[in-house]
């Protein structure tokens, strides 16, 4: 009878990297960590340049709504705060999300489940293209085409719904309002939210959808019972990515929202602003002290969008893992 164990010990196998490979791996790793370095440098430099503002105003810089440089010679007379701008960022971004998400859901479902196959590839390409339209073009379009339309709609909203506080205004003159900026942002973030949603919906388990068909369910039954629950967290993640984009948008908001330093919750009123457009607006003729305040504002914006994107990434990644 033959024994299976051989008297010779198996040859030991080494895996090690040659010197070339160690250099190569170190080099690639160093380049890959470039993004970490950049992110840390951004935070460090904006903090360094804006530190004086934080030490002068403390928490008031975030809560205060006034932007007054006072006597340019004497920095102690300045009162600077981005409270109104933060509120404006949040309001416009929320309008954008509330409007964009239902449409993005419908578009993703249409592309993934309703469109004929040839149309699906075309629409996916169009979605990528529309996502790459520069924001300045969205801005000029919003200013020239969307503005008169929204002015018209604002009149109607005010006429019938002015008993709701957010649709009320002191004087019924509508123009570059948070509603206009929010709607424009909705149009701008729609492609990104749609493509995230489409990707997640496309990963919905095919066998469960087929099972729903086999039980006599309609297409909508399959979507409602399988696809939508499956894609819920992916949609939330996509919406948060859109939220991050909307809060950081500069030029389109600059062109479609009247910069007024007043905390404004009336979305039809021609007053508002967001942090990014504040920076673009004040940068040109800023005093040295004001410039520091803009750096501080940039740091706040950076941290807020980083947080939103962090949450979005975590949520989207988690929804991918379920598959």
């Amino acid at each position: 009878m033959q024994t299976t164990d051989s008297p010779v010990a198996p040859r030991e196998v080494h895996t090690y990297y040659t010197r070339v490979d160690r250099v190569f791996r170190g080099f690639v790793a160093a380049s890959a960590l470039f993004s970490l370095v950049v992110l840390m440098l951004i935070a460090a430099f904006l903090l360094y340049r804006g530190f004086e503002i934080f030490s002068d105003f403390g928490f008031g810089f975030i809560t205060n709504s006034k932007w007054d440089i006072g006597n340019p010679e004497d920095t102690s007379t300045a009162v600077l705060g981005i409270g109104a701008m933060l509120v404006g960022s949040v309001i416009t971004a929320f309008i954008a999300i509330i409007v964009a998400v239902p449409f993005a859901m419908a578009s993703a479902l249409f592309i993934e489940f309703y469109a004929p196959r040839f149309l699906r590839t075309v629409l996916t390409a169009v979605l990528d293209l529309v996502a790459a339209i520069p924001s300045v073009i969205y801005g000029i379009w919003g200013y020239v085409v969307l503005l008169p339309l929204v002015e018209d709609w604002s009149g109607t909203l005010y006429k019938y719904l002015n008993w709701i506080p957010i649709f009320d205004v002191q004087t019924p003159i509508f123009g570059r309002s948070p509603l206009l900026a929010g709607l424009l942002l909705a149009i701008m973030i729609l492609p990104i939210v749609t493509s995230v949603a489409r990707e997640v919906y496309g990963q919905a388990p095919r066998d469960l959808i087929d099972a729903s068909y086999a039980l006599g369910g309609t297409k909508w039954a399959g979507i409602r019972t399988v696809v939508l629950p499956f894609g819920k967290s992916g949609l939330v993640g996509g919406a948060m990515l859109g939220l991050g984009r909307a809060m950081g948008e500069t030029v389109a908001v600059y062109l479609t929202l009247n910069l007024v330093f007043k905390t404004n919750f009336q979305i039809l009123a021609s007053a508002g602003g967001n942090v990014a457009s504040l920076i673009a607006n004040k940068f040109g003729e800023a005093t040295a002290y004001e410039l520091k305040a803009l750096m501080a504002a940039g740091l706040v914006l950076f941290l807020v969008t980083l947080l939103v994107n962090f949450l979005a990434t975590v949520i989207v990644n988690r929804s991918r893992k379920i598959v």
């Binding site: 578009s107 339209i133 379009w141 991050g244 940039g298 994107n309």
Partner: protein
């Protein structure tokens, strides 16, 4: 002994999910009725124009779909309503897209004249008549900055992808996460950062500074796309290369990267398309200059700033110039996409 008759006629399998002619007729009747209904609504209420008519249609379509199918029960009716709503909502989404393309084309083509693409604005104020001046300086400036940005961002982006896919190092997850986080950095913050460092240290706006701010925005796109592309390289190629005794460096540079070279070009092109229209960071870094310039250490023009600065003046001729610049910029983005698309389809066919 029983014999079975073999039928030569193979019955076509029924495909109940396929659209039949009756579906097409039903949809046509539905849309036609809704159109009439919408016109009636528009006549009765204050709605007007295409958008008013579309709003009426968006309301009428689900209602008529429901009325037409409710006798078959709620299951079918809900399906019909959902189909109507989803289609109507998607069609609504395309309205602004079409409007943007049409408006930019219509208004932008008015700014075009024989020398629009070859003249600059050196001796022409923005409010001057359209037939003078052009966008050559802006095109040159954009090309220079995007080229420098690509030379830095593309290798770095590909290396980040190589780290994640090939090296699978300790920080692979962290690197992927950071690239995603970086793609969320608002463009104005990237500009502010370069202003706080490069512009302040080197004393002034420059093409260099503009290009560096674009690097920050371009890198994540290149890294993400390259990562997806590198993942499609079959592991067999890598193991075959190792089996022949190649080092990892040699495997990466001689086997993996050449295999997907055209895909990496796509990644670069998509990165370029992402940043070619960036406005906010360039306001803070490259500023603007009215003449053709190739100096890297001085302010330089770019298409987005050309549009932005023309628009701010409120003058009719200046606004037309802004639209003209938009048409050129949109054309550039379109061409870049066509290139990326062509390359990636050729890759997938391979």
């Amino acid at each position: 002994m029983t014999t079975y008759e073999t039928s030569t006629v193979v019955p076509a399998p029924r495909r109940p999910w396929d659209h039949t002619r009756s579906t097409a007729v039903r949809v046509a009747v539905l849309v036609f009725l809704s159109g009439i209904f919408s016109s009636v609504i528009n006549g009765l209420t204050g709605l007007s124009g295409f958008l008013g008519w579309y709003l009426g249609l968006a309301f009428a379509l689900p209602v008529i779909a429901f009325v037409g199918s409710v006798r078959h029960g709620w299951n079918l009716a809900s399906d019909r309503i959902a189909t109507a709503l989803i289609t109507v909502a998607f069609a609504a989404v395309t309205i602004p897209w079409v409007s943007i393309f049409v408006t930019v084309y219509q208004k932008g083509s008015k700014a075009f004249h024989a020398k629009y693409l070859t003249d600059d604005m050196r001796i022409t104020p923005s409010s001057d008549l359209i037939q003078y001046g052009g966008v050559a300086h802006a095109i040159i400036g954009t090309l220079i900055m995007v080229l420098i940005a690509s030379l830095i961002a593309v290798p770095l982006g590909i290396l980040a992808a190589v780290y994640i896919v090939e090296i699978k190092g300790r920080f692979a997850k962290l690197v992927r996460f950071l690239t995603q986080a970086m793609s969320g950095v608002p463009s104005i913050v990237a500009g502010l950062f370069i202003y706080a460092t490069v512009v302040v240290f080197f004393g002034g706006f420059s093409a260099w500074a503009g290009a560096l701010s674009l690097v920050i925005l371009m890198l994540p796109t290149v890294a993400r796309t390259s990562e997806e592309i590198l993942k499609i390289v079959p592991d067999d190629l890598r193991t075959a290369s190792y089996a022949l005794g190649a080092t990892q460096a040699r495997t990466t540079f001689r086997v993996v990267l050449p295999t997907v070279a055209s895909g990496l070009v796509t990644a670069a092109v998509l990165g370029i398309a992402r940043v070619v229209g960036e406005t906010a960071p360039l306001i803070l870094t490259a500023s603007y200059f009215v003449a053709k310039s190739t100096s890297l250490t001085e302010p330089i023009a770019s298409l987005p700033i050309y549009i932005f600065s023309s628009l701010g003046l409120g003058d009719d001729n200046a606004t037309t110039r802004a639209w003209g610049g938009s048409l050129v910029l949109l054309g550039v983005v379109f061409i870049l996409f066509a290139i990326a698309r062509t390359i990636s389809t050729r890759l997938s066919r391979k």
